[in-house]
């Protein structure tokens, strides 16, 4: 493999039901950012599906300079084999230096299968990506390579953090946790170069058949998109008592989320869960109310800009990550806080 042949940052533009997933736009934001530090500045989105070409403009608005479209009926709904064939063929034809894939239920299946097919490394669930030297510091007897993708990810339930490189294989592949990277402000009317490519699809033993698709309509809010989260833990005490948090969220224009204990108790649906086994969030303000702060929870929210914790246990680990911690009874403080904020906001009008 001649590594120099591989150029440019590519992202897998995940779409479901011909609608781009938010992660596709997040990856474009990061890809643009990475490309600034590379010789090839052009960012390419790889769009796979059936009748999806129309999504190219949106990808352009969010930072794609080029969109490679593989449009085929075999790609209508996600199936591992035809998607792997399509993406691996794009890699072999267009030779990206870097390929980013969302760490979604699709990407975490597609990424490993593709990396095996093209024989390269894949780093899972990255939370931070940079361009830099590998090894980080000059090491005797080892060539230090420059402009490598340095992929940082938590492991061990969020207890450790590792930075990983893929110096001798291309593309350098990473799956990236949704909700972590920032989209750019869309550039209205931006256009990308469109390249249509079809490697041909032939059924083989690896093809599966989708017998049924059942959508589980989610009536709950998108906690990853929220600017303000009011999050409750076991300390809230009951499903009913979450109304205190609902009221606080309402005056702040925020959204309610929760810890795993709350989901396990059946008080809130899993879609609202923040943490290692839930969602990663980085709002501008995160209220942790009656949340002890288990490491698995913290792994999902510590990147929030401001963290305010309210907990009656002064030794709760949540105070180690909170910017502002208040030791006290949430049942008294939260309703009083809601009332006060209402008054303050009324005064400002």
């Amino acid at each position: 493999m001649s590594l120099e042949e591989y150029k440019g940052v590519f992202i897998f533009a995940q779409q479901v039901d011909n609608e781009l997933s938010s992660i596709a736009l997040e990856l474009l934001g990061k890809a643009k950012n990475l490309a600034e530090d590379l010789d090839e500045k052009k960012v390419t989105a790889v769009l796979l599906g059936s009748g999806v070409k129309g999504l190219s403009d949106k990808l352009a608005e969010y930072g794609a300079d080029r969109v490679i479209v593989v449009d085929d009926p075999a790609l209508k709904d996600y199936r591992t084999e035809p998607y792997t064939h399509a993406l691996a063929s794009v890699i072999n034809e267009f030779k990206p230096e870097i390929l980013l894939v969302g760490a979604t239920a699709i990407g975490r299946d597609l990424g490993p299968r593709v990396s095996s097919r093209v024989h390269t490394g894949l780093t899972a669930d990255c939370t931070s990506l940079d361009i830099g030297d590998f090894p980080l510091n000059p090491t005797p007897g080892q060539e230090q390579k420059h402009k490598q993708l340095l992929m940082t990810r938590p492991a061990f339930g969020g207890n450790t953090i590792a930075t990983i490189a893929c110096p001798d294989f291309r593309p350098q592949m990473a799956t990236v946790r949704p909700g972590v990277m920032q989209k750019i402000d869309p550039i209205k009317g931006a256009k990308a170069e469109i390249v249509e490519f079809n490697p041909g699809f032939e059924e083989n033993n690896c093809y599966t058949e989708i017998l049924k698709i059942v959508k589980e309509a989610s009536s709950v809010a998108d906690i990853q998109g929220a600017k303000i989260l009011v999050s409750g833990g076991r300390g809230v005490g009951s499903a009913e008592n979450f109304k205190l948090l609902d009221e606080l969220a309402e005056v702040l224009g925020g959204t309610v989320s929760c810890s795993r204990a709350v989901v396990d108790s059946g008080w809130k649906p899993k879609d609202l869960q923040v943490g290692q086994t839930g969602k990663t969030v980085r709002p501008s303000l995160y209220f942790a109310i009656g949340i002890s702060g288990a490491i698995q929870h913290v792994a999902g929210m510590e990147e929030s800009d401001i963290i305010i914790a309210i907990n009656k246990d002064e030794n709760a680990p949540i105070f180690d990550v909170a910017d502002y911690g208040v030791v006290g009874d949430l049942n008294k403080i939260v309703p009083a806080l809601t009332k006060k904020i209402k008054e303050e906001m009324a005064n400002k009008k």
Partner: protein, 263 residues
């Protein structure tokens, strides 16, 4: 029907993580357990065995002490166990691990391979799909239900996504990755525990792996390399107050929200 279940011995992160006085993770002090998703995969295999009759082989790659999870699998009802262990296999990333396991599985007959979705130490979810690619098998990840049609030689799997599920049919042989939500794994039976120590674990080394080049094994065969690893540095502690009254608490928070232009 022949089923191979891939399992991994992992440190238990759920039963409370232990730190050394210097703040780094104390792996030695943590219990080693069978990875939860893998245990669900084993349970799924044992249920298929109960229902249709099947031979269940568990396979693990690891240090010699990983023998313990194979014994546990025996006690739950597995029929055969294989430990793949060799110094040259150490330091493997997911590519090299999946190449190793695929090399071991090539020696076996199988209709179905079940792996856990992901292990709680690495959390990558990559090894299952990567094994399937090395063996040129269909893969269905994130299984919440597995049904087998023995006559047609197919499986039907409920495959979970964020906002939906698919019922997916695949031809056997195939590989399925299991979610721990799939089932509640059975306990070991007293008789099973007794038998577990009588039964023989097959131990394989590098030379027992089929059709794998040295360049795909261990640290040397790993495309990804660690640039830096550290136990997580805790964020610098912010302020913590213990107000005397509710009003004081509220004024404190409102003060901060105002200062930060939230309100």
């Amino acid at each position: 029907m022949k089923i191979v279940v891939c399992i991994k011995q992992v440190p238990d992160t759920k039963g409370g993580v232990k730190f050394k006085p210097d703040g780094t993770l104390d792996r030695g002090a943590m219990l080693a357990i069978m990875n939860p998703d893998d245990k669900a995969g084993l349970e799924a295999a044992l249920r298929l065995k109960d229902q249709y009759g099947a031979e269940v082989t568990v396979l693990t790659m690891g240090l010699p002490k990983a023998d313990a999870v194979l014994r546990e699998a025996f006690a739950m009802g597995a029929d055969k166990a294989i430990l793949v262990t060799d110094r040259v296999l150490g330091g493997a990333d997911t590519w090299a691990t999946s190449s190793t396991i695929a090399g071991a599985i090539r020696n076996l007959e199988y209709d179905l391979i079940i792996t856990g979705r992901q292990a709680i130490d690495g959390d990558t979810a990559q090894v299952g799909p990567q094994i399937s690619e090395h063996l040129n098998l269909p893969v269905i990840s994130y299984a919440e239900e597995i049904k087998v049609d023995e006559k047609a030689k197919t499986v039907e799997v409920k495959r979970q996504f964020e906002d939906r599920y698919h019922i997916v049919k695949a031809k056997m042989p195939c590989l399925v990755t299991a979610l721990s939500e799939l089932n509640e794994p059975r306990y070991m039976t007293p008789g099973g525990i007794f038998d577990a120590f009588e039964k023989e674990v097959t131990v394989w080394g590098r030379n027992d792996l089929k059709d794998v080049d040295d360049s795909n094994l261990g640290l040397k065969g790993s495309p990804t390399q660690i640039a830096k690893a550290s136990d997580k540095v805790k964020k610098g502690q912010g302020e913590k107050v213990a107000p005397e009254s509710v009003d004081e608490a509220v004024d404190y928070i409102v003060g901060k929200l105002t200062e930060k232009h939230v309100i």
